[in-house]
Amino acid sequence: MSHQNDSCHTRVWLYGGLCGAFVSAGALALTFVVSSGQAAIVGETRTVEIKKAADPTVDQMKAAYMRPAMIPFPKDNPYTAEKADLGKKLYFDTRLSAANAQSCASCHNPGFGWGDGLAKGVGHGMKMLGRRSPTIVNAAYGQIFMWDGRAGSLEEQAVGPIKAEVEMNLPLAELMGRLKSIPEYVALFKAAFPKDGITEDNLARAIATYERTVVSGIAPFDAWIEGNDTAIPEPAKRGFAVFNTKAACAACHSGWNFTDDSFHDIGLDTDDVGRVKIVPGVLKMEKAFKTPGLREIARRGPYMHNGSLQTLEEVVEHYDRGGVDRPSRSEAIKPLGLTAQEKSDLVAFMTALTSQSDPVPVPVLPR
C-alpha cells in the first residue's frame, strides 16, 4: 500500500467561485481540516503534463562523466597527511579484530579491486557473511554506505565491521586499550589528533580519511571522455550509448563513479530483505540494495549484493530479462529487449572502466 490511510481525517475542499470569493491569489485553496492523526494528509494523485527534455547528444552524455578534480573531504574531518598515514596503518592492521587475524584489507583488498573476490564476505571464525564485501574504491564520493545504507558517513561505516560480532568482533573499548599499549600508535594518534589522541572517533576519522584517498585511476574511458577518440574500441563506444539510452543503466549508474547511491529491488532471487530493514514499511525498499559504482568493475566479480552472478555477461543478461516481477521491483527494472551485439557492447564498455592501477604498498605496522 503506497498511500497513507486517510480515514481519520475529514476534509472539505472548496474550489472555484467560493474560493475566489475570499482569496485573490490563484494558487491558494481553502482547506477545511478536522484532524488529529499522526500523519500528514495525502491527497488525490493527478496526472500533469511534464515537458520532455530532448534526447541528449553523445557529447552531452560524455560531459556527465568527467572526473572530478578534487577528492571531497567533509568539513568535520578534513584531510591531513598525518590522518591518512595513520588511517592506512589501521586499515591494514589485523589487530583491529578480536582474533588478530583480520584487517579492513582482508575483505577490502587492493589486489581484488578493494573487495575480496568472494560471493560473500568471511567474518569472525571464518564464518560466511550475508552479503558480498563492497569495494571501497571512490568511497569519498559516497552519500550513504553499506548495501542497505545503514551507515550515513564513511566514519560511521569504518568502525561498523570492527565491532560487529560476526565480522571483526572487537569492542571498540577493547581496541582503544590495544592501541594505547602500542607506543608508536600513541605517537601517531597524537600527531594526527593533537587534542585528544587515541579515541574511538579519531580511529574512525583516520580510517575514513585513508579510505577517501582510494580513488580509481585513469581508465581508457576517461581518456575517451577527455577527447582521445581512439582510447576505447568501437564496441565500448556503442556500449556507452546503449548504457545511456536503450538500456537506461545511467538512470541509476550515473556520473563519473557510475552510481547515484539509490536503492532498488532489481528483481534478484534473494531472501535478503535489504533496505526495508532500515526504512520499515516502504514497499519499494523490500529486497532493495544500494546501486554500486562501476569503476574497476571487470576486476570486482562476482557481482550483486549476494555474489550470485559470476560475470558481467550474466549481469547484462539479468538486466535484459528484468528479473522477478514483484511489487517491490524498481520501476527502473523491466525487460530491455537487447540484441546480442548490444549486450556484448555493454560488457565492452564496462571493461573500459578498468584503470591501470599501481600496486599498493602495504605499510610497516607499529609494534
Binding site: M1, S2, H3, Q4, T10, R11, V12, L14, L18, A21, F22, V23, A27, L28, A29, L30, T31, F32, V33, V34, S35, Q38, A39, A40, I41, V42, G43, E44, T45, R46, T47, V48, E49, I50, K51, K52, A53, Q143, I144, G149, A251, D260, D261, S262, F263, H264, R275, V279, G281, V282, L283, K284, M285, S330, E331, A332
Partner: protein, 106 residues
Amino acid sequence: MKLVKIAAAMAFLAGGTLALAAEKTIGQKGKLFSEKEVSIKKGDTLVFVNDDNIAHNVMSSTAGNTFNLGSQAPGKSTPVTFDKPGDIQVICAIHPSMKMLVKVAN
C-alpha cells in the same frame, strides 16, 4: 461577504477550524527537490510533482507528519497537507540526494 459567513458557519458546525491554506509545488527534477527548505503554516499543502524522467518515492518518517507517496511515476502530482507544527525531514526513499526540510509553523 455572504459566502464567507456560510463557510464560517460550516466550519463552526463541523467543530473544526477554518484556515486559508496555501499551496506550494515541489519539483523533483534531476533527483533533487526544487527546494531544500520551505517554511509553511499548519494546514498548508505541498504538491509533490514528479517532473523528472524516473520514478521517485517521496516520504517522511518525522513523527506527527509521516507520509509515504510510494512509487510516484513521472508526470504524477500528489498534494500533502501538513497539520502538525514542527520541522519535517522529507526524503525520497530511493535517492539519498533528495532531502528537504519542511518547517511547519503554528
